[in-house]
């Protein structure tokens, strides 16, 4: 065995240029896979951050049917108990109650329909980016109930500026009586999301509860989980099942946005496709390299077979050469992959402003290096190399010694 390993290692460096070129081709394939994988993780994280940090949070609790029907009456059942239990959950970092109502919002110049959201300003800071995206004015301050925060687009439609008065009209729960209140624009935000920037207005939770006539109730509890939780596979957590009781339903963000799950699956599929193409190229490079090496050494193989090397020995010799080429290429690929990915983890890739599945990329994408990329892909490359070595290996094993000796003369 040791003899074959020694022979294989020395043989692959007999034609240094060819080995380096073949090795480099395999290494580039491996490095590309590592980089693309890291980039996809970076993209996923970026998208997940955009979704969960802007307003969605990691998950939400609603009364069953509220998400589909959006009826004001469908407030969360036993909300006090739910809040009490959420406080006890170790996995939960922050949460905040929200109230929703469809509203007509009118200024002296225009009118528009919006979703009016009642929020607890202090708690909401930790769950959404509304406070961070204020471009004019301030986030809620003091105890003034008549402050309203609207999006940049809505402000343009209503032709209002900071301090301008606007009237909000909502239908109350149960009675369908209209409730109308006067607000002053205290802040204008820009989330770079047309749906939000045009169609949502934020007021204090207490005021919203009063306007909607829902007492101390709420329609939604946004939940932020503690750091370190895999937010892509967050739907697998038990917490959602646990809080889906008493007519309420708790869902992770990915359950609320199933299209993202599909997108991630498609991303994985495209990564697999890229991997397949790269591995196919790698396989062809190896087969070509090994056959060239066999044809070059035909006489030598004939001699080795003549002096007593069994067919299985000739097979092993080629497989070990394949393995040696794999080891050389993998080392090169890991180094290349690390350098390439490392550079981009520092520099990042600017896709800001590009929209993907309704999510606008707001931040620079930084590829994420994981140990897995440097273990799984090299292992796959190694096994593919060994596997494709089987064909030239069988060829070498089947060589008639006399034929091999004659072919080379």
């Amino acid at each position: 065995m040791l003899l074959y390993i020694k022979l294989a290692w020395r043989n692959i460096f007999r034609n240094k240029r060819r080995t380096i070129i073949s090795g480099l081709a395999i290494a580039i394939g491996l490095a590309s896979l590592i980089y693309v994988d890291a980039l996809y993780i970076g993209m996923k994280n970026n998208i997940v951050d955009n979704i969960t940090k802007s307003f969605m949070s990691d998950g939400q609790i609603h009364r069953k049917g509220f998400r589909q029907r959006q009826e004001v009456e469908l407030t969360i059942n036993n909300i006090d108990d739910v809040v009490k239990n959420l406080k006890k959950e170790k996995i939960v970092d922050k949460f905040s109650v929200r109230a929703y109502g469809f509203a007509m919002i009118s200024s002296s110049n225009n009118v528009n329909s919006v979703v009016l959201v009642g929020i607890d300003p202090d708690r909401e800071r930790y769950l959404s980016q509304i406070d961070d995206t204020i471009i004019k004015g301030i986030y809620f301050k003091g105890t003034d109930d008549n402050q309203i925060i609207i999006g940049k687009k809505l402000a343009e439609i209503l032709e209002v500026e900071l301090g301008d008065r606007i009237v909000v009209t909502v239908a109350q729960a149960n009675s369908s009586e209209l409730s109308q209140e006067l607000f002053r624009v205290s802040g204008i935000y820009f989330l770079n999301n047309p749906q939000f920037d045009k169609g949502m207005a934020f007021i204090r939770l207490g005021k919203a509860q009063k306007m909607l006539n829902i007492g101390k109730g709420g329609h939604e509890i946004a939940i932020k989980l503690k750091k370190g939780i895999d937010r892509i596979h967050i739907d697998k957590l038990n917490i959602w099942k646990k809080f889906s009781s008493n007519g309420n339903e708790a869902e992770s963000w990915i359950d609320i946005m199933p299209q993202m799950k599909m997108m991630f699956e498609m991303t994985n599929l495209s990564l697999s496709l890229i991997g397949f193409i790269l591995f196919a190229i790698v396989a062809l490079v190896i087969i070509n390299s090994l056959f060239m090496s066999i044809y070059e050494r035909m006489f030598e193989l004939g001699v080795l077979r003549a002096i007593g090397t069994r067919p299985s020995g000739a097979f092993k010799m080629i497989i070990f050469e394949s393995g040696a080429l794999a080891v050389f290429s993998i080392i090169l690929g890991i180094i290349l992959g690390y350098i390439l990915t490392f550079i981009f983890t520092k520099v990042g890739i600017d896709y800001t402003g590009i929209e993907m599945m309704g999510v606008t990329i707001k931040n620079i994408i930084y590829p994420v290096m994981e140990l897995r990329q440097f273990i799984i892909y090299p292992i796959i490359v190694f096994f593919i190399t060994i596997l494709v070595g089987v064909y030239p290996g069988i060829y070498a094993a089947k060589l008639q010694p006399a034929e091999a000796l004659r072919k080379s003369l």
């Binding site: 007999r14 003549a306 002096i307 007593g308 010694p401 006399a402 000796l405």
Partner: protein
């Protein structure tokens, strides 16, 4: 020729090749025998079937018809694996020049067969040192073949062929790529080793120097032994 001393025996050996669609009758029904310990040669012009006959005798090629016995064993019916093992243990090969493994040192080239035989490291090393002394290459065990002259390389080949103490040494044109002085030296050395060890040497050659030293010469022409009477010249 007594039967118990016969080490190589062929019976009606035939082998055809196709070259560019044309059938070439390389060996056409050859019967001959070689006794144990002989220093013999198969001679004839280029293309007469010498190498093919040697390949058939050694099991490197399979005959279309006929049988081959080596040391009493019918090798023409053996499987690939059995043949490999048989060659490893019973036959030493000397080819034309350039048949050493260039990536292995002299010592590694020589010990290759012993490694296949599963002989221990110490014994392998001792045998290599011993055989290198016999072929006059002491101290060169760590050199690569490319660092040796053509004559030295052939000496290493002889050492490799003999180190596992096989019963038969088959040499295909061993002096073809050597100058006459080196060729003579090598042939003298092989003749001496033949005397000393009692191993059977069978050459395929058209080198007169080999014929002069051979105790039996088999003359081939167009794949056949041309004259049986001439076979047993000593």
């Amino acid at each position: 020729m007594s039967d118990k001393k016969i080490i190589i025996k062929t019976e009606n050996l035939k082998k055809d090749y196709k070259e560019d669609g044309v059938v070439v009758h390389a060996v056409r029904g050859i019967d001959f025998m070689i006794e144990k310990g002989e220093f013999s040669a198969i001679v004839g012009p280029s293309g007469c079937g010498k190498t093919t006959l040697l390949n058939l005798i050694s099991g490197l090629d399979t005959p279309d018809e006929g049988k081959v016995w080596l040391d009493g064993k019918l090798i023409s019916d053996m499987s690939g694996k059995e043949l490999s093992d048989f060659r490893r243990d019973n036959i030493g090969f000397i080819f034309q020049a350039y048949n050493l493994i260039p990536v292995l040192t002299v010592e590694e080239n020589i010990e290759y067969i012993m490694l296949l035989q599963g002989i221990g490291k110490k014994e392998r090393h001792n045998r290599v040192i011993e055989i290198l002394e016999e072929v006059g290459l002491s101290g060169l065990e760590n050199r690569r073949p490319t660092q040796l002259s053509g004559g030295q390389q052939q000496r290493v080949t002889i050492a490799r062929a003999m180190v596992s103490k096989p019963k038969i040494i088959l040499a295909d044109e061993p002096t073809a790529n050597l100058d006459s002085k080196t060729g003579t030296e090598l042939l003298d050395m092989m003749a001496e080793l033949n005397e000393k060890t009692g191993m059977t040497f069978l050459f395929s050659t058209h080198d007169k120097m080999v014929m002069e030293r051979a105790r039996r010469v088999v003359v081939l022409k167009d794949g056949m032994i041309v004259d049986k009477k001439e076979i047993d010249i000593v």
